[in-house]
Amino acid sequence: MSRNLIIGACLTVLFTGLAALSFLWTPYDIEVLDIPNRLLTPGGAHLLGTDHFGRDILSMVMMGARTSIAVALVAVGIGMGLGMPLGLWAAARRGSLLDDVIMRGNDLVFAFPSLVIAILITAVFGPSAVNAIIAIGIFNIPVFARLTRGAALPLWERDFILAARVSGKGAARISAEHILPNIANLMIVQGTIQFSLGILAEAALSYIGLGAQPPTASWGRMLADAQTLVSIAPHVALIPGFAILLTVLGLNLLGDGLRDWLDPRIRVVRT
């Protein structure tokens, strides 16, 4: 087990743990505003201080972890859930019109500037966590589709697949029973990377106001609110930024560590 894996796992567990804990308990209720006690520095009753509405920052970070992780997780889920079957299908029908159409579709989605489309989507459907998930999820699909197809293609030439085909199994069954388990490691590693990208994307969308709406807490929105206060009360701007940094760092290290552990030959796609 490499150092990467250990550090990454620790950070990831820390923030996932905070997120999970937030369902049961947070030091303070973030829906209660306490304006006389706003902008307190860390220490004392508030471990990480309070924000411009008097809300406890530690509680906000915990609730924000919940939002970021939930959004990124579901978005990656969408990407994998729709992208993998597409990629497998394209690989099974390699060279055909279907394969071409799927690949062209991928290229097309890649050609769109993702942030602009995310802004358009939220302009059409309104800003919310759900629409942020959709916007991020859409751009995860071609990543997984391309990766799956790329990994599955060489496998179709292998002897054991040939044997399966000769024995009469259909392409779908072959994909599910034989191809999939062989690319699982790659999917896990890429999934971790996409998860970290999803957290950054959610932060960016919330920062410009297009993610989860109040009173749901979000790290990106905490940063946006803190911007004008950075010279008066820097902790309000630094703490959410570090939360994002550490979570993404943890996930990236975890991904690298997993790759080293599972199969060092895996080549990840980082867009």
Partner: protein, 516 residues
């Protein structure tokens, strides 16, 4: 009463008192600034004649007579364009291109005598024909003037002589001179009207020089101006909407003045810095928590009253506006002499709120939507109000909207429960007489009072009717009346002549200079 007529008779007293109360800090620094200016002048420092002013929003185009963007007026009003009358720094109506006027006995005919020797920036003369052209264009069938209602009572515009123009109204309107001071009523010329959106040609002391869209707009002194020459030679407008960028630009001295500084939390820093002065003024913006009077449960006056008692105005002013703003108890500007203090009708009292809800048959509260437009008074104020309402059992579902969506969903389609917005037109209590206006308040008694008001011209009578109007909408709890929006201007300490208040959207540079 008629604030415009009062203004013509010069009543600066009461308005200045309010400013002075809010401007106590400003006084201190004005003295400091004055002494600094004296030192600078004495030491032979160069008197600067150029200025960089930042405002939040960029005008989309440069035609103040079509399109509603206030930013157009902010840049061009009084600087590039002038109207028959105009607002001065305290909101009083003073002469503009019309040097004097006669009003007929029946109040239907206004004869304006125009200033002589006035030319547009392209050299053409300004005369009565141009006034007729401007007014006819604004009130035409296909006009795209955003404030067409201002011209609705005009029946006819006649040119009597080269400098005399007569306007005939279809019915008496005590607000006519006031209306003609708005930015939408400025005088334009047919020779330059086709390119007005990109090359505005007016009669003002500054001419349009250059516009780098997205970055800056430049004005240059008009040396053939008919009136008193301004002290400044050039003026550059910059457009900075981001509060952090605004703070950084000001601190780094990239801009000299910021009118409508977007981040009230930074004002104490500027006030404490000897390089700067902070001017806290008022605006005509009544900030309200609008309730959809035709939607359940807000059709029940008890529920509306319960909502107003759940709100702590001071917490909103402190939390969202960092202390900038004056509480209001009705839809009227507190700095206006005819304001009636009705705050007692809607004091912060959560207990009373809960009992009223129970009496209305909603002991467990209810859930509703709170749709918020972009400004921070709405976004931040909204979060605070949501928390206050939650404390009495009213759950709100917050949706942050862009202006275009807000206009569509809340304003046009009336698809909302609660919303927060600031109504910035002066003297706009008449919106409560329109049952189709987005909060859908329908009261025939109120309409009758306003009809009387329109027909009344004597100040005492108008005063009494306005007081009546304010009381009706306060006791009917039509909306939650929150506070009067303030405006903060941050400027380099040596600058003088800036407007403190915003009686209309304007950055009037005619009297602005650096020191002495």
């Amino acid at each position: 009463m008629n604030p415009d007529l009062r203004g013509l008779n010069c009543r600066p007293g009461s308005v200045n008192t309010i400013i002075n109360k809010q401007g106590a800090i400003m006084h201190h620094f004005k003295r400091f600034a004055a002494s600094t200016a004296v030192v600078l002048c004495a030491s032979g420092a160069l008197a600067q004649d150029s200025i960089t002013v930042a405002i939040q929003l960029e005008p989309p185009n440069l035609d103040p007579t079509s399109g509603a963007a206030q930013a157009i007026d902010s840049v061009l009003y009084a600087n590039v364009f002038e109207g028959l009358t105009r607002f001065d720094a305290d909101g009083a109506i003073i002469r503009g291109l019309a040097q004097s006027w006669d009003i007929s006995e029946d109040g239907l005919t206004y004869t304006f005598n125009l200033a002589a020797g006035v030319t547009f920036h392209d050299g053409t003369t300004m005369d009565a024909e141009d006034v007729k052209f401007s007014l006819d264009r604004a009130r035409a069938e296909d006009s795209t003037n955003a404030q067409k209602a201002l011209f609705a009572d005009i029946a006819d515009v006649t040119v009597i002589g080269p400098l005399v123009v007569q306007v005939t109204l279809s019915k008496p309107n005590g607000m006519f001179l006031f209306n003609m001071a708005w930015g939408d009523a400025v005088i334009v010329a047919p020779e330059s009207i086709d390119t007005i959106a990109t090359n505005p040609v007016g009669t003002g002391p500054f001419a349009f020089a250059n516009w780098v869209q997205g970055d800056r707009l430049e004005l240059a002194r008009n040396d053939s101006y008919w009136g008193a020459a301004p002290a400044l030679e050039t003026a550059t407008f910059r457009f900075i909407s981001d509060p952090t960028a605004a703070f950084a630009a000001m601190m780094a001295e990239d801009v000299d003045v910021f009118v409508g500084f977007p981040a009230p939390e930074n004002l104490p820093q500027f006030a404490a810095d000897p390089r700067f002065q902070v001017l806290n003024g008022n605006t005509e913006g009544e900030t309200i928590l609008a309730m959809n009077n035709q939607r359940e449960p807000f059709d029940n006056p008890l529920v509306r009253r319960a909502v107003t008692h759940a709100i702590d105005r001071q917490a909103i002013i402190d939390g969202a506006m960092f202390g900038q703003g004056t509480p209001i108890g009705t839809h009227f500007a507190p700095h206006n002499p005819d304001y009636v203090d009705l705050l007692a009708n809607s004091q912060f009292d959560p207990e009373l709120s809960r009992s009223l809800l129970a009496e209305a048959g909603l002991p467990d509260g209810f859930t509703t939507t709170l749709k918020l437009p972009p400004p921070s008074y709405a976004r931040r104020g909204g979060e605070i109000i949501a928390s206050q309402l939650r404390a009495v059992g009213i759950e709100t579902e917050i949706t942050n909207l862009e202006w275009a969506q807000w206009i569509e969903e809340v304003f046009t389609n009336k698809d909302f429960g609660l919303s927060i917005v600031s109504h910035t037109e002066p003297m706009d209590i008449n919106i409560y007489a329109n049952p189709d206006y987005y909060f859908q308040y329908d009261n025939a008694d109120f309409r009758a009072v306003l009809e009387d008001l329109n027909a009344t011209t004597d100040p005492a009578g108008r005063s009494a009717l306005l007081a009546q109007a304010q009381t009706i909408i306060s006791e009917d709890y039509v909306n939650g009346y929150l506070f009067q929006l303030g405006v903060a201007t941050v400027a380099r300490a040596e600058i003088t002549g800036l407007w403190v208040n915003q009686p209309t959207a304007a950055v009037d540079l005619t009297g602005v200079s650096w020191g002495s």
